[in-house]
Symmetry: C2
Subunit: 328 residues, 2 copies
């Protein structure tokens, strides 16, 4: 079986590749049978690190490049994880870049998957940025797409296309809307949600950090480990389980910032939480405060997808999976 991962050098793409190598097999056809993974193609602007496994093929290329992509997505591809994206802040700052990667490259990928003629499975990661405006008290998989950012618009369009390409029988698509990922490894980024990882990661890494929101703010969180579990579970779902509703809001944990910090203190002590300074940033509070407050994820749970057990487990997962590298 051949798998393609776009955004393969990103932190999620790398974690997904490592997990797939560990698993060795995955179910990606209607018969539900797990089959051996022969090749995983990781495509990204820069080549990912050598994972020391001959099943991995790193390709450094622009996913808008039709020639390169056509060479990668042929009739031999069984499963595509389309993770590559220009993130929200960057897509807002550079409209054409966002349209090129988030819309045009996604469309091209779907057309190549269609042209391959074997109805491959395509897993598309989407975002709560497809919501906006007046959001209902509880968000469900039926809440209206009402994005208020170019990133959200581009993701919503990707969702509509994936759903229609699936309805037409061109692909077997599934859309997974990720909660805010925490604790995301690596450096802070310019996402408004960056602090949701930073207030845990930086203290564990021995660095100072700033919490820019009131500590009673509730966030909707999923660990990287939980995200990989959900992405693989989403890939393995039988197509009939999704029917004509291809998008799933993934289960997350609703956790206040105060609860996050208390969990950090339980795992790493007061020396860690003392590294957090508190300085509210109205711009960040406005964005984060507009996100949906409550979620009904019973549909995803009914399909066997799970949130992390609690935020302590999320902190411990970071310590186990990513802290050694951060300190190395």
């Amino acid at each position: 079986m051949k798998i393609v991962i776009t955004g393969g050098a990103g932190f999620l793409g790398q974690k997904l590749a490592r997990r797939l190598l560990q698993l060795g097999q995955i179910a990606a056809a209607d018969d539900g049978v797990r089959r051996s993974i022969g090749e995983i193609v990781l495509i990204d602007r820069v080549a990912g690190p050598d994972l020391g496994d001959k099943r991995i093929r790193n390709v450094a290329a622009d996913i808008t490049d039709a020639g390169v992509m056509k060479g990668l997505i042929g009739p031999d591809v069984d499963l595509i994880f389309h993770l590559a994206a220009i993130v929200s802040g960057a897509a807002e700052a550079d409209f054409d870049l966002g349209m090129g990667i988030n819309l045009d490259a996604s469309r091209q990928l779907l057309d190549l998957a269609r042209a391959a003629g074997r109805r491959p499975r395509v897993v598309f990661t989407s975002s709560v940025a497809v919501y906006g405006g007046v959001v209902p008290p509880v968000v469900t998989d039926d809440t209206q797409l009402n994005p208020r950012s170019s990133y959200g618009v581009q993701k919503a369009i990707g969702e509509l296309l994936l759903t229609d390409y699936t309805r037409k029988g061109f692909i077997d698509g599934r859309i997974l809307r990720l909660p805010t990922i925490s604790v995301r490894p690596g450096a802070p980024n310019k996402a408004a949600s960056s602090f949701a990882s930073g207030i845990i990661r930086e203290p564990l890494n021995g660095q100072p950090t700033v919490c820019p929101v009131a500590t009673d703010l509730k966030l909707w969180l999923l660990s990287p480990r939980g995200a990989i579990d959900s992405i693989i579970a989403g890939a393995e779902l039988p197509s009939s389980a999704l029917g004509d509703k291809r998008a799933l809001n993934l289960p997350g944990l609703s956790v206040s910032v105060a609860e996050m910090i208390a969990a950090l203190e339980r795992v790493a002590g007061k020396a860690a939480t003392d590294r957090i300074a508190y300085q509210r940033d109205p711009a960040i509070e406005a964005i984060v405060g507009s996100w949906p407050g409550a979620w009904d994820i019973s549909r995803a749970e009914g399909l066997g997808l799970k949130a992390d057990p609690d935020f302590d487990a999320i902190v411990r997962a970071y310590v186990e999976d990513d802290l050694p590298k951060a300190r190395a």
Copy 2:
């Protein structure tokens, strides 16, 4: 002032052009001032008829043709009516044709309008086909986009793009979702809703017709004359009236098929209604029966847009506007 109408040779484009020529002026800028119309460019695959007015310029071209479109949409364009579309049945039968016209040509038009740099007004006609699945008892402007046809997906994507291009300040877009148009002049087409015009038009034209649905079925209707009124009113709305919600469900009349036929008999007598045969078609009933049953169009009404007064007026409008040509 220069106006561009795509789909300009179609029945709606032609009626819109004639009305604009009559009016002589239209308000298309934020100051709300009606200005004299100097040129109306009608673009369509085939050139429209000579309307005998030197303000009209007929262009026969494919709207996917970037070179032609770039020559038409420059900094001198104040107002664009984007009516061109591949209709639902055809977009379902030929996926690439629908994507090319309904999505790619719309995107190109928006990019040319943006490149022109003067934030022109763009009026985009959309459709109730953006709804689908389990529709709430009363549809409002906030009902979720959930299309179940390629045509509906392409229109929904057009709506998302128009909204984002407006938010970014590239254009001043407004989206008008049209009810079923009745009485549409001309020949029957392959739309499931074709009978909604045919059961009135054919008897008035002296032709037999078949009613394929139960007569208690309710339809959501707007006359061509009412559609033109709403399209012009939509074009003249100040941008601030729409805010960040650029899409409006246009007011229509909820009329049962029995009420339509009774109105026909009042206007044209029993000789007309005797030309209707009744033969139910389950395929048509399934499609038409899935359309939303009730509408809350208070937002559009609050902005001054109006439905037809009653279905008798709709029948009389066809007799006045289109019957002479049909008989000629």
